[in-house]
Amino acid sequence: MEAPFDWKRTFEQLAPQLVLYARQLVDSKADAEDVVQQAFVRWWRRFPEGDSNHIPLLYAAVRTIALDQRRSDHRRVNREAKSDIVVAGENAPAFDPQPEQKETAAIVEKALQALPEDQREVITLKLWGDLTFNEIAAMTGSSINTIAGRYRYALQALHKKLAHLRADLLGESASPAINILPFSPPTTEALP
C-alpha cells in the first residue's frame, strides 16, 4: 500500500504539464506556478491517494484558479495603471527541449502563442495533458464537438505555422546532417 502523503512522485510527474497548461491562461511562469501550487494542494487534500482517474479534476482546478487569478489581476492592473515592474519568469521558455529540439521548441512555442486561447487550451490539454475530448469538454463546459473543432482548427493553424519545419524535415533525406525532428531517432513511421 502506498504511504500516505507520498505526493512528490505524483507532483513530479504532473507539474510540468500543469504549469504549461496554466501558462496558457495566465501571464507569466511565476503566476502559473502559483496557480499550480494552489490547485495541486487543493486536489491532493481531496484525493490523497493520487488516483489518476481524478487528474482531469486537477486540470479543472488549475483552470478555475487561473481564471480567478486573471480576473483579479485585471482589476489590479487597472488600479495600478500598468506599472513597469517586469513579471518574474514572464519570458521563461515553456518547453525543456533536447539540444537538437531547441529551434523546434522556440518555433512551436511562438506558434502556440499565436493561436486563439481556446484553441491553445485544447491543444495543451490534449497533447501534453493527455486528456480526452470528453474530459476537456466536461471541464470547460463546452460540447465535445466544439472541443474537437477547436483541436482541428488548432492543428491546421500549427500546420501552417510549422510549414518551414516541414520543409526541413523533408530536406533531411537529402541532407542528413540536419535533424530538426524533436523526437529521436526519426523512424520511418514518423517520416512519409
Binding site: A15, L18, F40, A94, P97, F183
Partner: protein
C-alpha cells in the same frame, strides 16, 4: 512524394517536446503547505476515525435511562390524579452533569466559501448525569454519548 506532415506526425512532433520542469521552489512550497496539513492531521493519523465500542452499549443504556425517567415522572402524576391531589412539580430532577471528552479528531484545515481558512475538529464525548427522585429516594446515572463538530478560524503568520 507527399510534402505534408499528417496530423499524427504533427502530434508526435508536438508531444515530443517536453514541457519545462517546474521550479524547485514550487515543489518546496507545495511541500510546506502539505506539511502543515500533516501536522494538523497527525493526531487523527495515530488515532484512526472509528466509532468507540462503548457508544452502542451506552446508547442503549441512555435510551433505557431516559425511558425510566419518563415512566417515573408519569406514574406519580397518575397516582396523585387518581387520589384527587393537586399535581406537583416534576419529581425527577438532575443533580449533576459531567461531560467527558473521549476522542478529538482533527479534520484539517479547509477553506470555506469565504476563502477563510477554518480548522475542523470532531469531538466525541459522553455526558454523565445523575438524576434523583426524592419521593422514592431513587437515584439513577445517565450516560449518553455525543459528537460535536467544531469550526475554528485559522490565520497564518507569514
Amino acid at each position: 512524394m507527399n510534402n505534408n506532415l499528417n496530423d499524427s506526425q504533427l502530434e508526435s512532433l508536438l508531444r515530443g517536446l517536453a514541457p519545462a520542469a517546474a521550479s524547485p521552489s514550487l515543489t518546496q512550497r507545495v511541500d510546506e503547505e502539505l506539511k502543515l496539513d500533516m501536522s494538523w492531521l497527525s493526531t487523527s493519523q495515530r488515532k484512526p476515525h472509528r466509532t468507540p465500542k462503548w457508544i452502542t452499549s451506552a446508547g442503549w443504556a441512555a435510551m433505557g435511562a431516559a425511558a425510566a425517567i419518563a415512566v417515573m415522572s408519569y406514574l406519580p402524576t397518575q397516582q396523585s390524579n387518581m387520589q384527587g391531589f393537586a399535581t406537583v412539580a416534576p419529581a425527577v430532577r438532575p443533580v449533576s452533569t459531567i461531560r467527558e471528552w473521549d476522542d478529538a479528531q482533527d479534520n484539517g484545515i479547509h477553506h470555506g466559501r469565504s476563502l477563510v481558512a477554518e480548522k475542523r475538529a470532531l469531538v466525541v464525548s459522553r455526558e454523565l448525569g445523575t438524576w434523583v427522585d426524592p419521593r422514592y429516594s431513587a437515584q439513577m446515572a445517565v450516560d449518553y454519548p455525543s459528537q460535536q463538530a467544531y469550526l475554528q478560524n485559522v490565520s497564518f503568520i507569514k
